[in-house]
Amino acid sequence: MDSPGLLRLRGVVKRFGNFTALKGIDLDIAEGEFFTIVGPSGSGKSTMIRLLVGMDEVTEGEIWLRDKRIDQTPANLRPTCMVFQSLALFPHMTVGQNIEFPMKIRKEAPAKRRARAEELLDLLRLPRRYYDKRISQCSGGERQRVALARALAFDPEILFFDEPLSALDYRLRKTLEKELKDLHTRTGKTFVYITHSLEEAMVMSDRIAIMKDGQFEQIAVADQIYSAPVSRFVAEFMGEVNLFPLRAGADGRIESPTLSVRPGVALSDLAPGHDGLLMVRPEYLRLADSGGSFDFTLSGVVHGEYALGSRIQYEIKTENGMVTVEKLREERLSAAEGQKVTLGFNAANTHFIGEAA
């Protein structure tokens, strides 16, 4: 990530009337990176990709591609290409005509176009006889591959993806996620991908950016976003989480209205006199009744048990609300519903968020 950014955004602002969709974005994307922007709907991620592709104009700020400023360049003159959510395959053209379209626009010779189209069919593992097929005869997965082939046809500097997998069923999506990751490795291209699905982002990306209200909350590798979110929003966006308010007294002693804290426990990020939230993922909570010593403990009553496939989720009702616990199926808790339990976890498995409760 230390190489100079291929794509650089500086202070990018986009306003629609009184509404500010993007509030001053700075971003560097490295060459060859698989970069994913995740956010809930309305977070500004779609606006962002439309600006990057050139289908909308920035209100303020600059977009640079290598050493050229491109924010005023119209979409058809930018050396980038997007795979649309709807794929936008031309229904009145065959698979081959679709793939050749960008080359036809660039007035390349028919023979050369044909050769390139076949090369791309091979790359995407589509049979060459698909060249003459109509789009309406292709399955969902095949259309996805045709759209990818078409986007790669003129060798763009960057490939943008606007949630292209969101309309597909679960199994096909899983297969295509892996294929996309594999395609990224084989082509060495820079991929910029937007999605609202965290799972998709985690499987494929080198880096993930979490977007909220027109700003980035956090940009980091997947693991770090999961285990060390910078805010409550990111923590909750990245799956099930338990958050406990904490406070450090003037003497450095940690106090919590909900947790019993073992004397002497310290958190490096929590300075004396400050407060914040302690995050612990459900899989790090243990039953404390059976012994063992924990930095933090709390007690409650088993409220519900839900099977999540390979894992089982428990809801424990405490005085201050529900706490979520997850166990692998083989480690299932022996406590029955309504039974009182004491839970514990250690400081090493927590992450402190310096944000008021």
Binding site: N76, C81, F84, F90, F101, Q137, A153
Partner: protein, 270 residues
């Protein structure tokens, strides 16, 4: 809820009755056109095609047909071109006055055509233009171009705007996009709009009434004969006009069918 069988049957019968209701007057006109008597009365005693012979031979009739045809062809060509762009402004592009434009287009369709014809007559008069069949083309356009636009707009709504964005993203400029993507995708809409434009112009009389000047279209002449002196040629020309329209529609359906069969055959070869 699925509609009960008896209700379905009643509804089908009702549908057939409505169709019969719509076409019954044409049946009468059809019979009248082959009655030999100069003054019509049912039941028809002797059938004859002599009025068709007279109509074919009449120079008035061929003038009427030429005028009607010239107006309809010109209206069709202009309407299709205007409707192609109009539909894009109506349905496709997001621009500032889009909703105003949409409503402006609807107004002439809601407007009483006789009044519109008279308004145009006064307008041409104040411009110093003497009405001929060419001014009737303008009059027809006021009503038909918006209808053609709506027909093309329905088609424009049905395709994903991302197709055009994708083409632009891959390097196509506006002209290329219009030619390679938009035009082929809108083609079925343009063909139906052209068909509608021709037929509506061919059959229209309230707009022609005041705007053709000394020229006369077929529906205008028929109207004049109906409200003043009856001519035995009225049913005959009426039938000829209707048959002309229906032949055109059948031809259009036949062409559409052939195109589809041809395409399916090509696909089947794969």
């Amino acid at each position: 809820m699925s509609t009960s069988r008896s209700t379905r049957i009643v509804l089908y019968v009702y549908g057939v009755i409505v169709i019969a209701f719509l076409y019954l007057p044409l049946v009468s006109v059809g019979f009248a056109s082959v009655s030999q008597a100069r003054y019509l009365s049912f039941p028809i005693k002797r059938y004859s095609t002599k009025w068709y012979g007279e109509a074919m031979a009449s120079s008035t009739v061929s003038e009427l047909l030429t005028t009607s045809l010239s107006v309809a062809v010109l209206v069709t060509v202009i309407s299709v071109v205007v409707a192609f762009f109009g539909a894009l402004a109506f349905a496709r592009y997001h621009w500032r006055f889009r909703t105003t434009f949409q409503k402006l287009i609807l107004l002439p369709i809601f407007f009483p055509q006789t009044v519109l014809g008279l308004a145009l007559l006064m307008w041409f008069n104040s411009l110093g233009i003497i009405p001929t069949w060419k001014t009737a083309v303008v009059a027809h356009l006021v009503w038909i171009a918006p209808i053609a636009t709506l027909i093309v707009a329905i088609r424009a709504y049905s395709f994903d705007p991302a197709l055009e964005e994708a083409a632009r993203d891959m390097g196509a400029n506006t002209v290329t996009i219009l030619r390679e993507i938009t035009l082929p995708l809108l083609m079925p809409g343009l063909v139906s709009a052209g068909l509608f434009a021709f037929l509506l112009s061919w059959g229209n009389f309230p707009l022609s009434l005041f705007t053709t000047g000394a020229d006369s279209t077929l529906p205008e002449w028929l109207y004049a004969k109906m409200v003043s002196g009856y001519s035995p040629l009225v049913p005959t020309l009426g039938v000829m006009s209707v048959v002309g329209s229906f032949v055109l529609i059948l031809a259009a359906f036949a062409v559409a069918w052939l195109v589809r069969v041809n395409r399916d055959a090509r696909v089947a070869q794969d």
